[in-house]
């Protein structure tokens, strides 16, 4: 069985929590005691119907205020796939939460209210999905029951969105007309919309081809730990533990270790369950090399003729997530693959208006939930790829050195020109 990670974007008003509640409920992942608890709370609040949104809102403040505060993770499975849903709130901290939820997603579901059509929020969600390089986007036009299941309305929304999306980089886009409240086209095809020739949302989620989404070309193996058991049994053992971040690593491969530049060959790929002939993302393995080299955590193993960029200067899009602003001259800690360094913010090129996609080059700083392009200089070289080429070696986080808080998510564009 395959694993699909998806993020959902939209606000309570779009019926997002209802949709997730519906997916969980109709795929029989909601237990009776959970449903009873939702029924009790719904009744106590005087709701007209059982509010499936309550299935997903866990914190006391959320239940009291009827809003979603933080990214919540939900799980369901069908006989074909297991799904991890990052449920991102539409209102509070929208950009920060959506970037977080999207960072691990293979697919994003964006909810649109059929009555309101494409809004500023829809454009923002689609843009963030494109910025985070989510390969698959599903636009769920919800509340079709409230527009008389009108094909005309669905087509209007679809055309408007397609017009906007030409400015984004989204590989695969699918539109599904649904009613989350009534369950139309969520799990089963609806009889209310015979004009719709596509599949239900769940069927699409089960079917969408994700095998080609990873980079299997450029071998990248960031060393996570040097394994040297000082025991009798494994006296001379030396291996390098890590998770393959790109490409395919095979026993016998010629490799180069960065930053030293030493070359050698792969003598073995091992796990606790035995040796392997090859490893690919996202496998966690131990790599053993033919020669004893000086290698430590944060080093990178790759093929000699296919190396990442090595450098201390980086140009990136960042999403700023702290209450205080980011200004030129700021010094922060940066974590990239398994490597920590310090970084100096040398330039803020522009702030991007996530609603209009206009860039504003006049800004002096980035504020909470802003997305902008910056240049960094790091204390030691990083071994990186463009984020669009590899999401694992093209991403980083920035950390405030005083508070230790994670303050930014970064997606590498290239070295500054």
């Amino acid at each position: 069985m395959e694993l699909l990670r998806l993020a959902t974007a939209g606000s309570v008003d779009d019926g997002k929590s209802t949709l997730i509640g519906r997916l969980l409920y109709d795929s029989k992942q909601v237990y009776e005691d959970q449903l009873e608890s939702v029924e009790r709370t719904s009744m106590a609040r005087g709701d007209a119907y059982v509010d499936l949104a309550l299935l997903t809102d866990g914190l006391r403040a959320e239940r009291e205020q009827g809003i979603t505060i933080d990214v919540a993770y939900r799980y369901f499975a069908t006989p074909r796939r297991k799904f991890i849903v990052a449920d991102t709130p539409g209102h509070t901290q929208h950009t920060r939460n959506m970037v977080t939820g999207c960072s691990t997603a293979d697919l994003v579901v964006v909810l649109v209210d059929a009555r309101n059509g494409i809004t500023e929020q829809t454009r923002r969600h689609a843009f963030i999905a494109s910025l985070l390089r989510i390969p698959h986007l599903v636009i769920c036009v919800n509340k079709m029951d409230l527009v008389g299941y009108s094909q005309k309305r669905f087509d209007e929304i679809r055309q408007e969105f397609e017009g906007f999306a030409t400015r984004l980089e989204i590989a695969d886009m699918t539109f599904v007309p649904i009613s989350a409240l009534n369950g139309d086209n969520v799990v089963d095809r609806s009889g209310e919309m015979p004009w719709y020739q596509g599949t239900s949302l769940l069927h699409h989620l089960e079917d969408v081809h994700i095998a080609s989404d990873r980079n299997l070309i450029d071998l990248r193996f960031p060393v996570q730990r040097v394994v040297r058991p000082r025991s009798e049994e494994h006296h001379d053992y030396r291996g390098y533990a890590g998770q393959v971040a790109g490409g395919v690593l095979e026993v016998g491969d010629d490799i180069v270790v960065l930053p030293s530049g030493f070359t050698t060959t792969v003598s073995a790929i091992e796990t606790a369950d035995g040796p392997l002939a090859e490893a690919f993302p996202p496998m966690s393995v131990i790599v053993r090399l033919a020669d004893e080299l000086d290698i430590s955590r944060g080093d990178m193993i790759c093929h000699p003729r296919n190396r990442p960029t090595i450098g201390q200067d980086i140009s990136a899009m960042v999403c700023w997530m702290a209450d205080g602003p980011l200004a030129v001259g700021a010094k922060l800690a940066v974590k990239h693959t398994t490597r920590w360094a310090r970084a100096l913010v040398r330039e803020i090129h522009y702030r991007l208006d996530v609603n209009t996609l206009h860039s504003d080059p006049t800004v002096e700083e980035l504020r909470l939930n802003d997305i902008g392009r910056i240049d960094l200089r790091t204390t030691s070289p990083l071994f990186y790829d463009e984020y669009r080429r590899n999401r694992m070696t093209g991403s980083f986080i920035l950390v405030d050195e005083a508070t230790d808080a994670t303050v930014a998510a970064g997606m590498i564009l290239h070295a500054p020109s």
Binding site: M1, E2, L3, Y31, E32, D33, Q34, T41, G58, L59, R60, R63, I69, D70, A72, Y73, R74, Y75, A77, K82, I84, R96, V99, T100, S103, T104, A211, L216, Q224, R225, P229, S231, E233, H234, Y237, G239, A241, Q243, V248, T271, A272, D273, F280, P282, M283, S284, R297, A333, K335, H336, R391, M392, S395, F396, I397, V399, D404, A405, T406, A409
Partner: protein
């Protein structure tokens, strides 16, 4: 070659990566081991992540004193097999020292008292990262928990002030006195855990499988008759009978209920779990029935 991992391989690889990040970046990790199925899976993953080395950090059991003997026997057996160091934080000793007061009202449990012993042990052993077997699918408050979950110097969890967690770039930076709870099973469900137990042929305490037991019914739950739970004389409906049961979760014997089941192998448990109509905690944990937010409240104080 499709270069695709199964969901269990993907979850295992993610957990191994998380455990190795902790071993690489923290000074003094520890692993919470109750002898329950989630901690048994967690400890197994730790052995895989550390292989070919032995698990270099100790395991900690927060002992309420209300144990199932089969679980204690399993705990000691596993610890001996792996050669890891076992630390026990005793709730009974904390009560005896007068540090905490037992709730002796009907329905009172030692569940909440565990937080004190857990935090004391973390302080005493100066753990800076503590692995837990918590899963996000278990409970609503857990659904918002980070994989690397920050705890302040009082051990408190602040659900609204959590660090954003992006990609697989975990931020474990902290000041002295603060620590992290790390949850490598965050993305696992109850079904995944059982499928993994089956695939890896993991040993578990025998009470996870069908067996005959003297039980009585309280608040709709089946409690075992034993030294720590007896039917109350003033409750005539708490009649003792013998039936075939198994445990879905294992915790404090006074508030962990059994379910009627004939499942005696992992495969049979998987079949039963796949069609279960009541959640793991709803079926078996009296402690979670108090209120919508009892888990959130306990977690804020520093609970598992």
């Amino acid at each position: 070659m499709t270069y695709q991992l199964t969901h269990l391989d993907a979850l295992e690889s993610e957990a191994v990566h998380i455990i190795r990040e902790v071993v690489a970046e923290f000074e003094r990790p520890g692993l919470l081991f109750s002898g329950g199925k989630d901690s048994a899976v967690l400890l197994h993953l730790a052995t895989k992540a550390c292989w070919p080395q032995a698990v270099p950090f100790p395991v900690l059991h927060v002992d309420t004193g209300h144990n199932f003997p089969e679980v204690l026997a399993f705990r000691d057996r596993r610890v001996a097999e792996l050669g890891v160091r076992l630390l026990v934080a005793s709730v009974q000793e904390a009560i005896d020292r007068g540090e905490v007061t037992e709730d002796r009202s009907p329905g009172g449990t030692r569940n909440r008292l565990q937080t004190h012993s857990l935090l004391r042990a973390i302080e005493e052993h100066r753990f800076d990262a503590v692995f837990g077997g918590g899963r996000r699918d278990e409970e609503k408050a857990r659904a918002k928990e980070r994989v690397f979950s920050f705890r302040d110097e009082f051990g408190q969890w602040d659900p609204r002030g959590q660090r954003p967690e992006l990609w697989s770039l975990y931020n474990g930076r902290h000041h002295a006195g603060e620590h992290f709870r790390v949850f490598p099973l965050s993305n696992w469900t109850e079904l995944d855990v059982w499928q993994y137990i089956e695939r890896e042929r993991l040993d578990l305490p025998s009470i996870y499988y069908a067996h005959q037991r003297h039980v009585f019914r309280r608040d709709g739950m089946l409690l075992a008759v034993g030294p720590h739970s007896q039917p109350r004389e003033e409750a005539p409906d708490e009649e003792v009978f013998v039936t075939t049961v198994r445990y879905r979760t294992v915790g404090d014997a006074t508030c962990t209920a059994a379910i009627e089941s004939m499942a005696s192998t992992p495969i049979e448990v998987i079949a039963e779990t796949a069609v279960a109509r009541v959640s793991e905690r709803g079926a078996t944990r009296a402690d979670d029935r108090f209120s919508e937010a009892s888990m959130e409240d306990r977690k804020r104080e520093g609970y598992f």
